[in-house]
Symmetry: D3
Subunit: 134 residues, 6 copies
């Protein structure tokens, strides 16, 4: 089994808050991240696919196909967007790095070969990142 | 003359648009960057100060003082903020990377030793950056 | 389960040697790293915490709390220090990257939620690093 | 158990193609990578060795020995080479990143302490990499 | 005056040699880089454009236009290519990093606003790079 | 004129203090950096050489020769050393990043082609660096 990993990039605005909490409680829990005017990040995404190497091609999976899949399913949906306002999945989920990683995993998983294992790593800043593998 | 350089970081939301242009013209000129719901970036800022080395301390300028100055004048003003909505300088200036760099220069310059030369480099994404030296 | 990772930084002096070995044996085993005048590194530390995502906050753990914990338990103890001379744990342990990672793990572990899994990655140079997960 | 990791570097030319396929089929499957005139990469290699920390030295394994082993077994064989034309292992295997990682693993494994676990990570570009652990 | 900088990427094969020198002389001067089977690199290119900020748009130049220009003039010509065999400019010029930077400058310059100053930085490896500004 | 740049690396211990100042004054001016037990850094050094491209070789200067020169004049002198205690130049000069850059420039300059312009960039940490060009 070999894991192939592909890095991609999108940038977006977000804020962390719950409608069912007061502004004060949102600020207590989420600090500056609850700013009602939003802030934003350059998200660096790494998608990992683990599987057997096809003896005919020497590939686990064609990186070009993986790149195009990430573009179609993730970048086109999130790049230059406001996650809270424009991405349906975050109507009901706070767009923390953890939840964004889970949403990305769930967007990609149905398109993967079922014999392949999927994992995602998401950098929210150069110093903060999260990983999720289902 | 030696140049000392200090990297710092802030993240913010912004959009590129002019109120005096139609939405269509804004989109033609600024593309995805004019998204009315905003998007955002991790801005990496490098501040460069050029001057003589003080023979007593071996410093052009104490990096700790420079770090604190960047925090007070730039990070506290822009970090986790919406540049268009919350930073006064961008009421009348489009927050392109070029203009953000000029604003940062203008915020720092009055606090610098007049014998020192100032320059700023601002990464908007890992692939796009700008430099300004007055 | 999601893993959140936080990078931090400290720099320190150290040397690798055993008091119970001759200088010659120390040099044979540890080479330049046994220099009696010490040398030093910029250590880049990544702390990984794995756990369930709290459905209320969307967090495994607040990154701000993790950042403050790393500062209190690791940076305040090791930053700008001589590990051999000033950090008690290395009175009886050689400060190799492996042992520094284990000491950091042991410093952080008692402060972690017992349901969370902890791991640490420590870069001694941009080309050498170690990982430990208990 | 601690994992130590050592980064190294080599650059090489390669192309992806199968002699038993037509030029057209090679291009359909491998795209630009099948260019008959070759193209090339700066390969960044990370070798990971997992084992117990020797209580006497504080090392899993001396990084200097690992560095020299990577030079002798991998760099001297692949650096500034044409993988297809000059590296015997790729006479019968397409030099995809996956296969290069497997070949590197197989070159290093016989030289490792059998109690140690080996893994390799190979960056073909800053955005594409693969991992293999036997 | 502000400088905007855009990073891009291509990978290619090359060798350093002169047809009018013996193999031995080529090897004496160019070492491993003269390998007749070629080797290759991931070239990281940074294009710098210096000019006034357009008061209407806040841009020196639209980064999207610069990105597309680099793709059309440089990437399409050099990416996944053998520089010696497939890029006309290197029929008569040795493809050293210095010469590749000069060729890239000469390819881009005619497309630039004549009031703008152009410079290019080219990384041949993470440790070796060159800069040229006409 | 083209500039070629070569990155290299050394790590060392140092402290910032003046023998002719009290410990208190040293701490007031240099803070944690005056720790009498020393601390240390991974110094990343970039050496820049500017000159004409030799039409015969396509080189400003052979990078291999520059690499060997940096090793002989800088790395062998400073790597794994205590700058204050073991490097003669810092008997009379405080080893700030500024002064280390000047010392490195002065070590390299006599070995350079007099028609070439030399500059050095020295990273003391990933966030602090200095540049000097004579």
């Amino acid at each position: 089994m070999v894991t192939i990993s592909r890095k991609s990039h999108f940038n977006a605005a977000h804020r962390l808050y719950r409608k069912d909490w007061s502004d004060q409680k949102n600020e207590n829990i989420f600090g500056k991240c609850s700013n009602p005017y939003f802030h934003g990040h350059n998200y660096e995404l790494i998608v990992h696919v683990t599987g057997d190497v096809d003896p005919e091609t020497g590939y686990v999976m064609d990186m070009k196909i993986l790149k195009d899949l990430i573009k179609a399913e993730v970048e086109d949906k999130m790049d230059h967007k406001n996650l809270n306002e424009e991405v349906q999945e975050f109507q009901s989920k706070i767009p923390t790095a953890e939840n964004i990683a889970i949403v990305i995993y769930d967007l990609l998983k149905p398109h993967m070969n079922p014999r392949h294992k999927l994992a995602v790593t998401l950098y929210e800043t150069p110093r903060n990142y999260v990983s999720y593998s289902g």
